[in-house]
Symmetry: C2
Subunit: 346 residues, 2 copies
């Protein structure tokens, strides 16, 4: 069976030959091959240069032997294409002119992906050629709430009080902004699928900043809206992932996601009760586990596989969050091998 | 009934005249009276100057009308007293010489609170006099895992991989370090009680960085050890609080805490099922709620009170995390009034 079948089958809840594995941020700084490319160009230039984006997308497929590639890009290229000035530097991403209210939101437009985000689609075309069917390609975007939070705060935050205050105090503003973002994401993801992405992941990085009752207003409904707007077939699964989502897993599943990503705080068998029986689960090794000695990594990979077996249904192995920049590459390779080896037969 | 009875009764699960309320970090930057004191001295000098620490401790009691005072101090004064060099400046707390392994841990000592943390006890003595029984005084410390994480990382972190790797890879080191810290905390908290603290809160700020199975090794057992070491009577309750603890609430309750603090991610009625019937609950309004217009604040305070009523048992109203530095004071006052007014009679 090809590595391609493995990932898509698991997403659909079918039985693959072994558990598929990929890592969030697998194209990243822990790889010396990635650092060599980044030494030549800025992060944003890398995102916008299709042959370089394709090059770093391919690196972990070859080096680690993961079962899926994920497009190298950034979730904030969409707000930029909508009309916001984006700065990505060592201080982290920033919008120097954050949204201040409804009038600012009305100035945003829904970009035409083939024109304003063409560098992403060109990268997908290149990657598809280079992959030559070896493993599937995952496209992605940020979720509406997470993008809106960045666009209002202007940068990352521990508490997001500015974004929460703006959106929770003014329902019309919240609905207008989140709908504009959702429309932009729908056409962006559709273009990714049409160009050749085999699967999609929606990253709601700041989901866990919201109480469940607020996520039910600002978060989940707009992810559902994006999913409903996509024309896709059953072989093009969508993964929805957020951080600190213990109390939000049911809402994430109800968006219509084929796969719900789980961070390392909730064991997968516990997550199954909250997600329900329909969706596959993705996760959820603590990224810090890859800093431990080999026997401890083995014990921890095995625990996740055991919890996934108890959870039943499809399982895509992943970390519970992005791979950390100082991760030893040999430990990431080891984890891939261990997942492929699987649990001993019962 | 006095404001003093209110808080202690709720902690014990008894029925007070109304729900008591205080705010984590209520002595802080959102108060202009606090900023006036801080303009004169550094944060660490403020911690170490008993009359100034007492002054800022008293401010929210008078200004907001909260039902408990909490000692103004910092959780990192204990590692400093154990022998570590602490720098507290605008870049956040730092240990320029973090712990690198077992030998560094063996150089730490268990401080004598009356000698090496005397400024804290002197502050408690002053505050007791100034409070004159108006409201109880809460003493506090950081939890062993949170302090160990700071001591190994050297500063705050998003992922704490260095601390996790060090402690999870070497059980003997972990046990030695966490036991030393627990011993130091036990004698520190005992001294706070003996000097006049009416209640205690243990802050496990980084609890949520650990998966439940790791928290069961590095987190909860050492809090339990501290609690077991304290000589106190039923009128001196201990609150245990952590952030992102949705999956850890049962472990926090099992430490022997009288009150379990809950962040805003888990509704209190849901938390009750995880905590069990014995402990009172503290929380859990999203701190960002205090940036909303008055009617929205009222709706949100009411929701917490309703969830607490459904949860049954004792309830101390609080935010789900520390009050944010830009919080409008009038909104904090409004929340206190609304909690005291309570839900309409059924």
């Amino acid at each position: 069976m090809s590595r391609e079948d493995r990932f898509i089958k698991a997403c659909r809840g079918d039985q693959p030959d072994c558990t598929p594995v990929w890592f969030m941020r697998q194209a990243g700084r822990y790889l010396k091959e990635y650092r060599a490319v980044r030494a030549k160009v800025s992060f944003l230039t890398l995102c916008k240069t299709p042959d370089l984006a394709a090059e770093v997308t391919m690196q972990p497929v070859d080096i680690l032997g993961v079962d899926a590639a994920i497009l190298f890009s950034d979730i904030l290229v969409v707000p930029e294409a909508m009309g916001m000035h984006l700065v990505l530097d060592d201080a982290g991403p920033q919008f120097p002119e954050p949204l201040r209210g409804p009038a600012d939101a009305r100035r945003l437009h829904v970009p035409d992906p083939e024109r304003e985000l063409r560098y992403v689609l060109d990268a997908i075309r290149l990657i598809r050629k280079q992959l030559a069917g070896k493993v599937p390609l995952i496209g992605f975007c940020g979720a509406p709430w997470t993008l809106a939070a960045y666009m209002i705060e202007g940068h990352t935050s521990r508490s997001f009080e500015r974004a929460k205050a703006a959106l929770l105090a003014d329902e019309a503003f919240a609905h207008d902004l989140l709908t504009r973002i959702s429309d932009a994401l729908t056409s962006y993801l559709q273009a990714q699928l049409d160009t050749g992405a085999d699967a999609l992941q929606i990253f709601d990085s700041w989901a866990g900043a919201l109480a469940p009752s607020d996520y039910a207003r600002l978060g989940a409904p707009y992810i559902a809206q994006v999913l409903q707007g996509l024309r896709r077939d059953r072989k093009q699964p969508v993964i929805v992932f957020g951080v600190e989502t213990g109390e939000l897993l049911g809402q994430l599943a109800a968006t219509g996601a084929d796969v719900v990503g789980v961070d390392w705080r909730v064991p997968l068998d516990e997550a199954r009760g909250r997600v329900g029986p329909a969706a596959a689960l993705q996760g959820n090794l603590d990224p810090a586990s890859l800093f431990l000695p080999a026997p401890a990594i083995e014990a921890r990979v095995r625990r996740v596989l055991e919890e996934a077996r108890r959870a039943r249904g499809g399982h895509v192995f992943n970390l519970g969050h992005g791979i950390l920049p100082a991760t030893p590459v040999e430990n990431a390779k080891l984890a891939v091998e261990l997942v492929h080896r699987g649990l001993p037969a019962r």
